[in-house]
Symmetry: C2
Subunit: 418 residues, 2 copies
Amino acid sequence: MTSPADRTPARPGRRHLLRAGTLGAGALGVGAAGVGLGRSLGAPSAPADSAEEASTHWAPYGGPTVPFHGVHQAGIETPAPASATLLALDLREDVDRDGVLRMLRLLTDDAARLTRGEPALADTEPELSSEPASLTITAGFGPGLMSRAERPAPDWLAPLPAFGIDELEEQWSGGDLLLQVAADDPLTVSHAARMLLKDARAFTTPRWGQTGFRRSPGVVRPGSTLRNLFGQLDGTANPAPGSEHFAKVVWIEDGPFAGGTSMVVRRIRMDLDGWDEADRGARDAATGTRQDDGAPLSGGDESTPPDFEKVSANGFPVIGEFSHMRRARGVDDGEHQEIYRRPYNYEHAPAPGSGLLSEAGQVFVSFQADPLTQFLPIQRRLDELDLLNQWTTPIGSAVFAIPPGCAEGEFLGQSVLE
Amino acid sequence: MTSPADRTPARPGRRHLLRAGTLGAGALGVGAAGVGLGRSLGAPSAPADSAEEASTHWAPYGGPTVPFHGVHQAGIETPAPASATLLALDLREDVDRDGVLRMLRLLTDDAARLTRGEPALADTEPELSSEPASLTITAGFGPGLMSRAERPAPDWLAPLPAFGIDELEEQWSGGDLLLQVAADDPLTVSHAARMLLKDARAFTTPRWGQTGFRRSPGVVRPGSTLRNLFGQLDGTANPAPGSEHFAKVVWIEDGPFAGGTSMVVRRIRMDLDGWDEADRGARDAATGTRQDDGAPLSGGDESTPPDFEKVSANGFPVIGEFSHMRRARGVDDGEHQEIYRRPYNYEHAPAPGSGLLSEAGQVFVSFQADPLTQFLPIQRRLDELDLLNQWTTPIGSAVFAIPPGCAEGEFLGQSVLE
């Protein structure tokens, strides 16, 4: 929810939050305690590291709550839960600056309620609101929203440049407003997303929606790296949530978006049928890692730093020059950028007549303080050369500015748009 | 997995199973113990009601296993897990009886492995097989498969008659072979479904696939009735798994399919936008129950039998004559049939330009010994008159014959097709 090393943006609402106590540690503690709850569901009361860290909603069932209000928005540094829906909406033509602010007030109010496990204000199915299951709701702004709200957009807030590997489809790209709705339960996500869509209905039309999945609570050790549909551990080199390093990589330091971040969404189709035909050697060579344990081909385990200098007996680099990991890390260009990846798998049942066994891939989501200096160089290198490109195709792309979190009584984006 | 009152079909493989011990109680116990695990994940060893009830795969993570072999197939009487994919496949034209049997041997072998948490035989991502999470794989036969295998189909194995409310789409209907893949984790389901599709690829083409969700483990009390996307408790009057009554309703007693059942799959589109406009009174009148606690309008709680005779002060029945519950129960026709419902919710993000907030509904699944005498009369009554029809539209329909379970060394359907 927030980083331990809070760099205090000079805004009253935010100062108020920081005065309220050790929100940083507390909010992070809830994330950790949420994991703890997963281990002890069914106990009359779940243990928390301290009473202060307990959420307002804490029961044998229903799952924990993640605080909505805070210095940063939830859904970024908080653990990625099992189920997520990303919704991109376009503002209706007649919506002006006042309309945008009114809509954000409505959305913020209901998002706060839903994440507490309470019904939305005009909830027609309040029964579906009582299991928050670590629900988080994160809002992001596209360039269209900033312009409609008559406020300057960050210079990086624009579609990414075209890449050679892209086969972008309009139906998965762009958008004025992004809502990331995520929880450890798919019915919770479905209901919350619908309540927010209803709030936004008078102001927006749906542009695209993407739904993805990670592991259900309790199925893998909390904090485990996600496996994607290729079977690869995906996200190994992520900065650790809660660390100062994470804060440096992810949070914007200055300007109106201080305490916010940028979000890149890429819909990446994965050719599972083609991947089937690659043997383990070809797969590992393409990634530069071992599929089974995620260790770099230079040895060790998933957490061992790769040795890019290591050569085989016949003089070739053990981690190939065109391998995904080597290209992503930029070792051969003397560069090194970092982003925080928080992806979801997607898979649709085979479309009739498609001949495919399924349509599958990854809803790639990354957060970084500046997409131009962090995400873009990595993507450029991968676009140039990356063996994995044989089996992956970006079919959607969008960039959003994520405003900082808000305090109670404020609305999401208030500090940015006021 | 099986009923406590085992009616022994006179087949060697099945007798062998029954000789092997109290499989009935044991298998059911695993279901219950699985729920227990959900409550105590993270403990070094999870408590089971007795040692005999522990499954072969039992770890802090990965989730429990549900035995694949047994008198009945798993995935019917066992608790419905969080995530399911239903796949309907059509046999390729050149597949003869031998091909059908060969395919079923392959599928059975891999289904048994995957449900144990082991990789499929030609598993290219064995890493995705190690979390069974209560995985069950259930196979059903359409009329096409029975005919190709040169064996007579049960007389009820045919498409349901057309109903006035139907708007069936070919892409969601029929099929020669049905695979129901369900687990408490969506990645487990995705991988298992793919492995089975690969096994079947040489013999079949995909006809349709449907994916649905229930609650994640630990989010609601085990055994709770599922809420559908209308917010209603759905499945209240189900016979209790493990009861003699369940066995009577679900399992076929005689003939080649003894120990098996029939499966009706209906894809029911739910008009959530229209439902939004109905107030609580109109909703409850349509169902005959209270949305909040599922109690009949005649009073009590979810488990209270409805009093269809009760009238209001002005003489009208409290549970309206056209209400869903009254029509489903057949009280006014002097009929009463029962089925076992095991549905999943579905929702797709809004399609661009559709104007809808989402495409949503229910993958209705029911099991009953005879669809003609059990499912059909209920559906006929609902087709004639049911206030709920205003908001629901069947868009897919299929009937499958579910063969009994098999013993180790046998293949699914062996007793039926040999």
